[in-house]
């Protein structure tokens, strides 16, 4: 039987890593294919090859039975294959309509009016409402996704590839998206839905293709697949109970309440353009506690944690650590107090690409004995200390002297975590610390956080992964449009209640 799109025996190697190993899949018309696998399994790589961004070392692609060569996105687009990436391919300085037309219009005149009508039609048909003349940088994340999908439809996509599309959506918005996708397939589209969330794949996919470490593990019928079977294929483990994410940990109660190590009072922080993005936030963090911060990305979490880390000066309000006011203090001072920051942007905010692994990990700690002696650095001690952690966290690097920029994304993230542990942390500010990591490492990190908590450290865990937050947090604070919608205690954790708060509905304490 001739399939719509077929990829045969695709292999791709990046340096030492075999990203894809002899993978063969097919996609038919009018179906949603779930491409399931944990981070690093090769799902995005496989689709990037189909979209022409990467070149496969081996293997062939067939469209409606005919062999094709896809050498660049231009070729893919000519076959009406469109990909919406995890990191949106939009130019912030251009308007919505300019972004939609980018690359598909040629020639001299740029008469925007003529396209306006067509775009409005598509917009209405699928419920993708957006202001065409707004600059993209003004739009919130959820709306930007609409622009991407609108663009795909405008280009007459026959295959739409979505890479982790629910990352920045509330649970309710996810439902809306999934039903919209079902409508699109009925209208004639094929969709590939890349995800690492099992439940999501089961909800939306007609067929589920599972990848693990670059290999094809199995293809299951969406309606018939069971969660256990999918998890087993995806992670290679039979029993997920030991994993922190899946077990129901008893954290013990927080009574009697311990002392407050971090107090935030009426904090107001401004964003890049001077607008208030953290609006009158107040909360406390106690010793030996993990406080989660839930919320769709872009609701002020980044600015909040940057204010706490001393990188961003608050407009007003107070921050106290161990009773000492540190509002507006520089990062060095906050660091000295034992407050360690794990930034979300591991490369832009946390990596010195040309310098060695050791030099990266020691960043921030370098001005302290035993790593320094007088004005000189003691590289011996630095290397030995870092080596210990590199082993413990199984960082894939030949030695601690190689440039950190050559490591894979996951390993770079491990370095960020190690950096926060190298000296006794009192408070850890962690922003999406497990993003992009495989399940085994996620487990290791969550366990480490619990260990630290039990020893008396405090952790502010900002994450977009509700499962993660619900598994180890004592309390969860929900942020929406820069405000605290509510703080929920562990015994009251409820996925949809939190989801409602993430979408703007206030909840009870």
């Amino acid at each position: 039987m001739v399939h719509f799109i077929e990829m045969r025996e695709i292999s791709k190697r990046f340096g030492d890593v075999q990203a894809l190993d002899n993978v063969s899949i097919y996609i038919d018309k009018n179906e949603v294919v779930g491409l399931l696998g944990e981070n690093g399994a090769g799902k995005t790589t496989l689709m990037n090859i189909l979209y022409g961004l990467y070149k496969a070392d081996k293997g062939e692609i067939f469209i409606e039975g005919k062999k094709v060569k896809i050498r660049s996105p231009k070729d893919a687009l000519s076959y009406k294959i469109v990909m919406v990436h995890q990191h949106f391919k939009l130019i912030p300085n251009f308007t919505v309509i300019e972004n939609i037309l980018l690359g598909s219009v040629k020639g001299m005149k740029l008469n925007l009016k003529t396209y306006e009508e067509e775009l409005s039609k598509i917009s209405r048909e699928f419920g993708l409402d957006v202001d065409l003349y707004e600059k993209v940088r003004e739009l919130p994340v959820g709306i930007r996704q609409r622009v991407e999908i609108l663009r795909a439809l405008f280009r007459g996509a026959r295959l739409l590839i979505l890479d982790e599309p629910t990352t920045n959506l509330t649970p309710q918005e996810v439902d809306v998206l999934l039903s919209a996708l079902k409508r699109m397939t009925k209208a004639g589209l094929s969709i590939v839905f890349i995800t690492h969330k099992v439940k999501e794949a089961m909800k939306v996919a007609d067929r589920i293709i599972v990848l693990k470490a670059g290999k094809l593990m199995g293809v299951l019928d969406g309606a018939l697949a069971s969660e256990e079977k999918l998890i087993e294929l995806m992670m290679g483990v039979r029993d997920v109970k030991p994993l922190v994410l899946f077990s129901n940990i008893d954290l013990g109660s927080l009574e009697p309440p311990k002392e407050e190590v971090l107090i935030v009072e009426n904090l107001k922080v401004q964003g890049e353009k001077g607008e208030i993005v953290v609006n009158n936030v107040s909360f406390t963090l106690r010793r030996g506690e993990i406080l989660g911060v839930a919320g769709v990305s872009g609701n002020g979490q980044r600015e909040l944690v940057e204010a706490l880390a001393g990188i961003r000066r608050p407009a007003s309000g107070k921050i106290l650590i161990n009773g000492i006011e540190i509002t507006g203090a520089p990062p060095a001072k906050i660091f000295q107090m034992g407050v360690f920051y794990i930034p979300e942007d591991r490369i832009g905010d946390g990596l010195l690409p040309t310098m060695s692994v050791s030099e990266n990990v020691i960043l921030g700690h370098h001005n302290n004995p035993p790593f320094k002696r007088g004005i000189l650095m003691d590289w011996n001690i630095v290397h030995r200390t870092v080596e210990k952690y590199v082993k413990e966290f199984k960082v894939k690097a030949q030695n601690v002297g190689i440039p950190a920029g050559t490591l894979s994304g996951g390993n770079i993230q491990k370095l960020q975590i190690i950096r926060a542990l190298i000296r006794e942390p009192k408070i850890i500010l962690a922003h999406n610390p497990t993003r992009g990591l495989d399940i085994a490492t996620v487990d290791m990190i969550l366990r480490k956080f619990l260990e630290l908590r039990n020893k008396g450290a405090s952790i502010l865990l900002i994450s977009e992964d509700l499962d993660e937050l619900m598994s180890i947090c004592d309390r969860i604070m929900v942020m929406y449009k820069g405000e605290v919608m509510g703080i929920i205690r562990r015994e009251n954790f409820d996925l949809y209640k939190i989801g409602a708060m993430m979408a703007g509905m206030r909840g009870a304490q």
Binding site: P353, E359, H366
Partner: protein, 340 residues
């Protein structure tokens, strides 16, 4: 760093350098010259006479210091293209001290002359440093503009109250005798500046790779934002590196006055600026590599003027070859990375 890796690096880079010289040879043939005579003059003029050695060392000293003056800010990802102007300000500082304090005894005067060079050079770098610190002005352009201003300053002073009226070219009177750097070797003539200059690559190495400040310098060059986030005071570091660059270049200028010309001469900066930039970029800022490369460049520069003198080959040919060496070495880097 294992031996195999080092040998491989040497192999790739040698190929690059060789290609550049092959290009030179082909050009010689095209211009109708004797290629063997050309190569011989190019590489051996420095060693074929005592004055050749002396001239080479005299060129080596400023090149070494100014290359370091470019290399240290380079570690912080800053391009101190103003080494030339800082060199000239150092020279101005040297003659200013020499003429103003001419009654002081030798050793003190010399020390003050050199210090004056360092201070004036640092001051000239302070301007772009401040512009960088307060206004985030790109240092490539600001330092180059100051270079041009420094040329006019030199011209003004060389035709000012200290000018030598009998000279055909704008220059000052010679500095007092006790301000002249003593020779450490008579034949060939090598002055104390040589020892002084050789100190600095090692000091630079220690500073950049072993001290806390040096680590912070490199971190800022690698990722200024990450450095800021983890406590390094990035606002200071880049401007500070420029000032260090100015100090080194200024010292070079004062040594040039007190050890070679004994005066301030219009145009004394020659092509030191461009050469130092090339040297620092070729070595990627590695202080030890700078010593070898500076010496190598000095040798072929003396050879180039020898070629112009005895064969009529313009010195610019070698200037182009030196730029080609940089380009080919960069290319070798890319090839090396691909063939892993």
């Amino acid at each position: 760093m294992d031996l195999h890796k080092i040998l491989r690096e040497i192999a790739f880079y040698s190929t690059g350098i060789t290609v550049a010289f092959v290009v030179a040879g082909l050009s010689l043939i095209l211009m109708g010259h004797d290629i063997l005579k050309g190569y011989y003059t190019l590489f051996f003029t420095s060693f074929s006479s005592l004055s050749g050695i002396s001239l080479t060392i005299l060129k080596f000293i400023p090149l070494l210091l100014m290359s370091l003056g470019f290399a240290i800010p380079l570690m912080a990802r800053k391009y101190n293209v103003g080494v030339e102007g800082q060199f000239l300000l150092g020279a101005i500082g040297a003659v200013t001290v020499a003429f103003s304090l001419s009654s002081l005894p030798g050793p003190i005067l010399i020390t003050l002359i050199l210090t004056g060079g360092v201070i004036f050079g640092a001051a000239w770098a302070l301007i772009p440093a401040l512009m960088l610190y307060k206004f985030n002005v790109n240092e490539i352009i600001s330092t180059i503009l100051l270079n041009f201003i420094s040329f006019y300053l030199v011209d003004y002073i060389a035709t000012g109250p200290w000018r030598d009226v009998f000279a055909g070219h704008p220059m000052t009177l010679p500095i007092p005798d006790q301000g002249i750097l003593p020779l450490i070797i008579q034949n060939p003539q090598i002055n104390m500046g040589f020892i002084l200059a050789l100190l600095f690559p090692f000091l630079a190495y220690l500073y950049v790779y072993r001290t806390v400040r040096g680590y912070e310098l490199r971190a800022v060059g690698a990722n200024p934002r990450a450095s800021m986030i983890f406590g390094i005071n990035t606002n200071y570091i880049a401007p500070l590196s420029l000032i260090i660059g100015g100090m080194l270049s200024g010292l070079a200028g004062s040594i040039e006055v007190a050890g070679l010309h004994y005066r301030l001469i219009e145009g004394m900066h020659s092509n030191y600026g461009s050469l130092s930039i090339l040297i620092a970029l070729i070595c990627k800022g590695n202080p030890i590599g700078v010593i070898l490369t500076s010496f190598f460049i000095s040798v072929i520069e003396i050879g180039a003027s020898g070629m112009q003198r005895t064969m009529g080959v313009p010195v610019e040919l070698i200037f182009i070859v030196e730029a080609l060496i940089l380009l080919f070495i960069l290319m070798a880097d890319v090839v090396k990375a691909r063939k892993k």
